[in-house]
């Protein structure tokens, strides 16, 4: 179909999976971190904040190399997580999802945090006086009001995950069917004579996927906006 090779199809399927899993798994972490950074005061806050921006600041290959060191077979975290959950990252699609999630994380975090900070805290107070403890208040008031930001964060992370290449290829290499995402496949095509057209076709697939995600998010966003509009 569309004349893509089986390898290319695998890359497309994999990229979708990796971007989706990376985004969805990162989302709760981003929510927690964004809430902590927006609302709490604690020592080392600025350090944590800076740390969470690292994937943005460092060249992707460096991030990928750190991931390789930390989550590889011999890596401290890699071992620990394997012992605890039985998940291996090294040279698995899970590792690609981790890399993409990590690279998109700061974008998601920032968008969500921005929305948390923009919320009228008197509404949280009102929920409190009505008997909602902080958890319920978060769930019933803060989170719904921050939904536009959560959505933007998720879409940014998803898009970034679709395009992420440097960290992924450095961390989990470029194994067709296992860790070869669309960008890795594109890269491979650009490295040989005559590969440009195939690279371009694959780029178009990425664009289409991203467009669909974007349109979905816009539709959702419009609904949300209509709901929480203070005025119309």
């Amino acid at each position: 179909m569309f004349g893509f090779s089986p390898d290319a199809w695998m890359a497309i399927e994999l990229s979708l999976r990796v971007a989706t899993v990376g985004t969805l798994v990162g989302l709760p972490v981003a929510l927690l971190a964004a809430y902590a950074l927006a609302r709490w005061r604690f020592p080392g806050k600025i350090i944590l904040d800076g740390f969470l921006h690292l994937p943005l600041v460092l060249p992707p290959v460096v991030t990928g190399y750190f991931l390789l060191l930390a989550f590889g077979k011999q890596g401290v975290l890699g071992k620990g997580i394997y012992d605890l959950f039985g998940i291996t990252f090294s040279f698995r699609w899970t590792g690609a999802a981790l890399a993409c999630g990590v690279m998109g994380f700061p974008l998601m975090l920032r968008a969500i945090r921005l929305s948390f900070e923009a919320i009228d805290r008197r509404l949280e107070t009102a929920a409190g006086t009505l008997g909602a403890n902080p958890y319920w208040t978060f769930l019933l008031v803060t989170l719904p009001l921050a939904l536009p930001g959560v959505l933007v964060g998720a879409i940014l992370c998803f898009a970034k995950a679709l395009g992420e290449f440097g960290a992924t290829i450095t961390f989990v290499s470029n194994i067709p069917g296992e860790t070869q995402t669309i960008p890795s496949a594109i890269y491979t095509f650009t490295q040989v004579p005559g590969g440009e057209s195939e690279a371009l076709r694959l780029s178009c697939v990425s664009i289409v996927i991203a467009m669909v995600a974007l349109i979905l998010s816009e539709v959702l966003n419009r609904r949300i906006q209509r709901r929480i509009a203070v005025f119309e």
Binding site: G131, A132, N133, R227, I228, F231
Partner: protein
């Protein structure tokens, strides 16, 4: 922590850049009106009772429950105080419908010991036709009526109302005053009622605390405080 003493006892000191609140009053009445000019500190007192804010020094006791006591280090968080607050500017949840707004408090009360049923409240407040709407589409007065319903339906142990009728016309105001009278007389829920309307004070208040510039000027019955 139960103490045999007055229904409501407030002693609080709170400093702000241009304003110091320093009040001390008690009341055993079912409805206590806080009466005073704009900027005198009425809303600030409600916030302290509700636990929205913590006084620099002070002690707040409602029906024998110590809610705040800075010396003893007691500060019950607001969601465990079971206060029903009608905020001066409504503070409806914009993402919820009117119905979801007024039922919000019910999700957190195990005991539905609320005396007045939803139907009665909705009827008197005249918000039956608004149930599916969202706050953004309500008129000013409608918003305040929904806020009132929301507080009344949260099964509170004390009701704090901040100028609940200021945005309403006389006919509606009178009906709602009857409702408040019923709550005052039939239910064991003490009410602290902020207003600057003399008529409301005369009709509703069993005890009036007159505030000015952050201090209690006088306390007594409506007739005593306002003159007759």
């Amino acid at each position: 922590m139960k103490e045999k003493q007055s229904l409501l006892s407030v002693r609080a000191l709170q400093r702000r850049p241009d304003f110091t609140l320093d009040v001390d009053f008690e009341s055993n009445s079912a409805l206590t009106a806080l009466f005073g000019p704009s900027g005198s500190g009425k809303t600030s007192i409600l916030n302290l009772i509700a636990g929205v804010q913590r006084p620099a020094r002070g002690r707040i006791v409602v029906a024998g429950n110590v809610l705040t006591d800075t010396e003893a280090g007691i500060f019950i968080p607001m969601h465990r105080r079971r206060v029903g607050v009608v905020f001066q500017d409504a503070q409806l949840f914009p993402h919820l419908t009117v119905q979801q707004n007024i039922k919000f408090g019910q999700w957190f009360t195990r005991t539905h010991d609320q005396g007045l049923p939803l139907e009665v409240i909705v009827e008197v407040l005249g918000i039956g036709s608004l149930m599916k709407r969202r706050p953004a589409t309500l008129s000013g007065g409608e918003r305040h009526r929904v806020a009132l319903a929301r507080a009344l339906l949260s099964s509170p142990r004390i009701l704090l109302m901040d100028e609940p009728l200021a945005a309403l016309d006389d006919a509606r105001r009178s009906e709602i005053m009857s409702l408040i009278e019923r709550i005052r007389d039939e239910l064991a829920v003490p009410i602290v009622y902020v207003t600057h309307n003399v008529e409301e004070v005369r009709r509703l208040a069993l005890r009036v605390v007159r505030i000015n510039a952050g201090r209690v000027v006088s306390t007594g019955t409506a007739a005593e405080v306002l003159g007759s």
